[in-house]
Symmetry: C2
Subunit: 225 residues, 2 copies
């Protein structure tokens, strides 16, 4: 990591996808500014994992921004609604958080502008995913256009672009990329509804997708030992 | 205000523009959900004004969302930089807050989705303004496209549209609209750098634009008595 390396703002949730996406950015030579949100998510284990991921990445800094999305609600992740179990299927599930990636990318654009980063890196995936609309490539392109017009950086021709390196990968391919990068998956946390001791439930969408990835890629998930 | 009125999320800063814009939405028959941010702005007088404006509007509710933009900085309004005085001119001044309207509109889109609002109302103005890129109509259109693609509401064909009724008005026309709506301008607060007792400085961009509006519209600004 050198002073003149290009810089990227990496959205880090604590899950494995954002860790792998940021790891790919590091491998590509970017200096990393990690960005996470304390947005009223049901469990704060995510933020403990996010800190560990930022350390593993060797990020230049890691900002955790408080944002009271719990005052808006509308999701099983930010309001008092049950998390569906064994329910992967078509349609947008109740774990969808209204406009979450739009909000997170907007704040990432502000940070990118402040630190002079050329890229925003997001672990969004539109293959083995829960059907969230804000994980699709057409949304990423529309966001870039809005950020280009709505920031000083954009008016100066240096608006950040969004890099979503996992968007067309299967969960197995994401697991394999993480294995290649040397990620200890044990520091990540994917479950929407973990037990009080942090053990994943194994039955929410996110656990099911993660298990599918490990099953197809080969190799054990350290969280399921 | 009736149960079947269309609903609008109104961004309320405490300044006169957002108050007039929301007042026009009320006049147009919308039920109003007021939304403000405690984003680390230099002075919290704005939020006291925002509460008074929401009361004047008869908003159905008023959410004040904590958002730590002060951890990002990059602006004289959120970091420890001096506010320029008597300095209205071309270019984007240091009071520009990186991606602020992009962030605020994104969170407004989340609230609109949750409460079923069809409109987001913003007091942005691109005539007598400080040259902020996120106040221009082309940005508003790009934002709408991103919100349409990045929300569940959008996939269901009910994405909110942005209404910026002041975008092409002069400051004098905004003052006159406020006078017609019966707004007590004394409850609003525009100054970027007020004295500890709340009196406006009279010399920042925002004070200069407000004074220009009253001078051209006729009528006294109750804050300058």
């Amino acid at each position: 990591m050198f002073k003149n390396d290009p810089a990227a703002v990496c959205l880090i949730s604590g899950g494995m996808d954002s860790a792998v996406a940021a790891g790919l950015a590091r491998e590509a030579g970017f200096t990393l500014h990690a960005l996470s949100f304390n947005y009223g998510q049901r469990h704060r284990l995510e933020l403990r994992s996010a800190k560990r991921v930022a350390l593993w990445l060797g990020a230049l800094d890691h900002k955790i921004i408080r944002l009271e999305l719990d005052k808006i609600g509308g999701s099983a992740l930010t309001a008092d609604l049950p998390v569906p179990k064994n329910a992967l299927g078509p349609g947008i599930p109740v774990t969808y958080v209204p406009a979450r990636n739009l909000i997170f990318l907007a704040i990432a654009a502000a940070l990118a502008e402040t630190v002079g980063a050329q890229r925003i890196v997001i672990g969004a995936n539109a293959i083995d995913f829960s059907g969230y609309p804000d994980c699709r490539p057409e949304f990423m392109a529309a966001f870039e256009a809005a950020a280009r017009l709505g920031t000083r950086a954009g008016t100066e021709g240096r608006a950040p672009t969004v890099w979503a390196p996992l968007i067309a990968l299967s969960k197995a391919e994401i697991v394999r990329a993480g294995q290649r990068l040397g990620l200890d998956f044990g520091i990540t946390c994917s479950c929407y509804d973990p037990a009080p001791d942090g053990r994943p439930c194994g039955r929410c969408d996110s656990c099911l997708l993660r298990a599918k990835g490990f099953a197809e890629a080969g190799g054990a998930d350290p969280l399921r030992r």
